[in-house]
Symmetry: C2
Subunit: 336 residues, 2 copies
C-alpha cells in the first residue's frame, strides 16, 4: 500500500517571531513500513510553545528542526498498517510525528491509548505532555501540599490550566494569571481562588501581593520576565519556584528582562528549578492513574482551542504567541 502524505516542513528558520513563511506544505509518497514500523493516519496533532526553540539551530535538550524536513510533535493517530508486534491495524496510538496527515514511524515511538478512559484528544492534553508537565512540576519540584498557596502563570494555557486543576485537587490555594477577561473567567471556573488579568493589572507585584498577602509557597512559572520578578517579590521564605517555561522570551534571540527582585533568591533562601518533562517519565504511571481518576470525577476538565485540518496548523502555532488559545491548542485532522 503506497500512501501520499501531506507534510508541513520547516521552510526557513524564523528570525524573531515566526510567520506563515516559516512553514511549507508538501506532498510526498511514503515508503511502505519496514519491520518494526507502523503506518499511522493522524487524527489530532498538538502545537506547543517549545517548538519555537527547535526552530533555532543551537544545541538544546532536543535536536533542532532541520530546514526542508517535516516538523515533529505530539499526535494521536490510527494504525493503518503494522509491521510490529503488539500493534494491529485499527489501534489508536499517541506518537511524536505530528505535522503530517500520514506517517511511517518506529513502533517504539508509539504508545497505545485507551479511548474508554478518555477521548483521543485528551491524550494530547490532560493525559498528554501538558497534564504530565503540570503534575511533574507541582509534585516533584514544587512538592505542593494541601493548604499551601501556589501562583500559576499563563493559567489559561495548556499546562497552566492543568496545573490550576491539579493544585486544587491537591487542596492548595491557587492564585493564577491570564491575559484577557474571558480567560480570567474561565480560569475561575476551573477553580482558581484568585485570578489576575496581567494585561490590565497596573502593577503585577502589587496585584499578586494583594491576592496572596501571606506570600507564596510555590510559583509555577510558564512565563518568566515580570511574572517571575513579581513571584520573587511575593515568595515566602524557602518558597519553591518551578520553571516550566518562559514563553515571554521564546521569539527573541537575546531576550532582555529587567528584574528587580533577584536578591530575594538569597534573602529568602529560594529554590528555582527548571525542568523538562522528558526526564521524568518514571512518574507517568502514577500520574496517569491519578489523572484518569480526576477526569472521571470531574475534578479536571479539559478545554481545547481546535483548528481544523492540517493546513491550519501553522496558524494555530502562531496563535500560541499572541494568546489565541484558551486551554490546549490542537489541530484536528480527521475522525477515527
Amino acid at each position: 500500500m503506497s500512501v501520499v502524505a501531506q507534510e508541513i516542513l520547516l521552510n526557513s528558520r524564523p528570525n524573531g517571531a515566526p510567520t506563515l513563511d516559516t512553514f511549507r506544505s508538501v506532498r510526498r509518497s511514503l515508503p511502505a513500513p519496514s519491520d518494526g514500523q507502523l503506518l499511522v493516519r493522524t487524527l489530532w496533532m498538538s502545537v506547543d510553545p517549545y517548538m519555537r526553540g527547535r526552530m533555532r539551530d543551537q544545541p538544546s535538550y532536543i535536536a533542532p528542526f532541520q530546514v526542508g524536513e517535516p516538523l515533529e510533535g505530539a499526535a494521536v493517530g490510527v494504525v493503518e498498517e503494522s509491521r510490529a508486534e503488539n500493534f494491529a491495524k485499527g489501534d489508536v496510538v499517541s506518537h511524536f510525528s505530528g505535522w503530517r496527515d500520514h506517517a511511517v514511524i518506529d513502533a517504539t515511538t508509539a504508545t497505545k491509548i485507551d479511548l474508554d478512559a478518555a477521548p483521543a484528544e485528551a491524550w494530547l492534553g490532560p493525559l498528554g505532555v501538558p497534564g504530565f508537565t503540570a503534575f511533574v512540576g507541582l509534585e516533584r519540584f514544587g512538592a505542593l501540599k494541601s493548604g499551601e498557596t501556589v501562583f500559576i502563570s499563563a493559567a489559561a494555557g495548556a499546562v497552566g490550566s492543568m496545573a490550576v486543576q491539579i493544585a486544587k485537587a491537591k487542596g492548595a490555594r491557587v492564585i493564577a494569571s491570564a491575559g484577557s477577561d474571558d480567560k480570567v473567567a474561565w480560569v475561575g471556573e476551573l477553580g482558581a481562588d484568585e485570578v489576575i488579568n496581567y494585561k490590565t493589572a497596573k502593577d503585577l507585584t502589587a496585584a499578586l501581593r494583594k491576592a496572596a498577602p501571606e506570600g507564596l509557597d510555590v510559583y509555577f512559572d510558564n512565563v518568566g520576565g515580570k511574572h517571575l520578578d513579581a513571584a520573587l517579590a511575593v515568595a515566602k521564605d524557602s518558597a519553591r519556584i518551578v520553571v516550566c517555561g518562559m514563553i515571554a522570551g521564546y521569539n527573541d534571540e537575546l531576550p532582555s528582562e529587567t528584574m528587580h527582585h533577584l536578591s530575594a533568591i538569597v534573602i529568602k533562601r529560594l529554590s528555582l528549578r527548571g525542568f523538562i518533562v522528558l526526564d521524568h517519565y518514571d512518574l507517568y504511571p502514577e500520574f496517569s492513574a491519578a489523572m484518569i481518576g480526576w477526569l472521571k470525577e470531574g475534578k479536571v476538565k479539559s478545554r481545547d482551542t481546535v483548528h481544523d485540518g492540517l493546513d491550519s496548523a501553522p496558524k494555530a502555532f502562531l496563535g500560541l504567541f499572541s494568546g489565541d488559545n484558551t486551554g490546549k491548542m490542537l489541530v484536528k485532522l480527521a475522525d477515527r
Copy 2:
C-alpha cells in the same frame, strides 16, 4: 567591676549607599554581668556585606538593626569576667556582639575557640562565617565533585577566596572573577585555574565561555546581576547555581538588573538555590575538622585587610562596597 565601653551605633538608616553619618560612636557604662553572662573585651571584629541588609527596616532572615542601638556582628574577644559555667576569665571566645570594645553577652552566644588550631582572627575568616559559608554552598548545594568546573565570583572577597581554595582542595577546576589586577593575581596564587578581571573584561559572558569552553557544572554566586547572567549563559545542562550573596544590589532600594539568559533555567534544567549559612550549623563539625586540616596542610591560606581600632570600623564597612578589601575585611581592636 564597672567598665565604660565604646560602642558604634546605627545613627540613621542609609538611603542608598551608607556613609560615615550612618554611624555614631558613644561611650557608656556597662552593667555588671548577671548570672549566665560574660563580660568580654573585643580583640577582632568583622564587617560584612550582609550588615547592609540589617540597616533596612524590613522583615528578613535576621532582625533589622535599630537606630540608636549598637550594631552587631561576629567578633572574637577575651573573657574578662564570667558568671557562666564552662567559661573562665582569660578564655578566648567568638561571639556576635562586635562593633564595641567591651560587651556583656549571654554565654549561650559565645563559643570557646582554640588558638592552637588557628590564630584568633582566623576564627572570623577560614574557620568563621566566610569559610563555613563557602563550604556549605559548595558541599550541600553545589555538590561539587572532583573534576568538575566551578565559577566563583567576587573571588578576592572573604567568602569567594575561601570558596576558591575549598574547591581546589576538592579537586575541581576553578574559574574565578575579581575586580582589579592585584586581586586577579592574588586569586591566581590561591590556586584558581583562570581568573577574569570583570572590570576590564568587555564581555563577561564571552570571557567566561572562553575560560570554561565545556561549560560550568557549578556557579557560586556572590554578586548577582551580570555575573549571574553570564553563568546562566555558560552553564552546562543540569548545572547547580548556589546563590550566596548579591552584593551588586545591596545598596539599592529597588535594584534593577537586565538579564538576557533567564530562559536557560528551563532550557538547561538548572537549579538555583539561595541559602543562609545560619540554617546549616549541623555541618559545622564536619567543616571545622576539614578546615583545620586544610589550614595546617597549607591548602587554605587566609589574607585579611585589617583596619586598626574601633573608630576605623565604619570606614572598613564602607570599603566593602567599593572593593577595598582583598580577602576578609577585619578590624583589630586589641592584642590579647
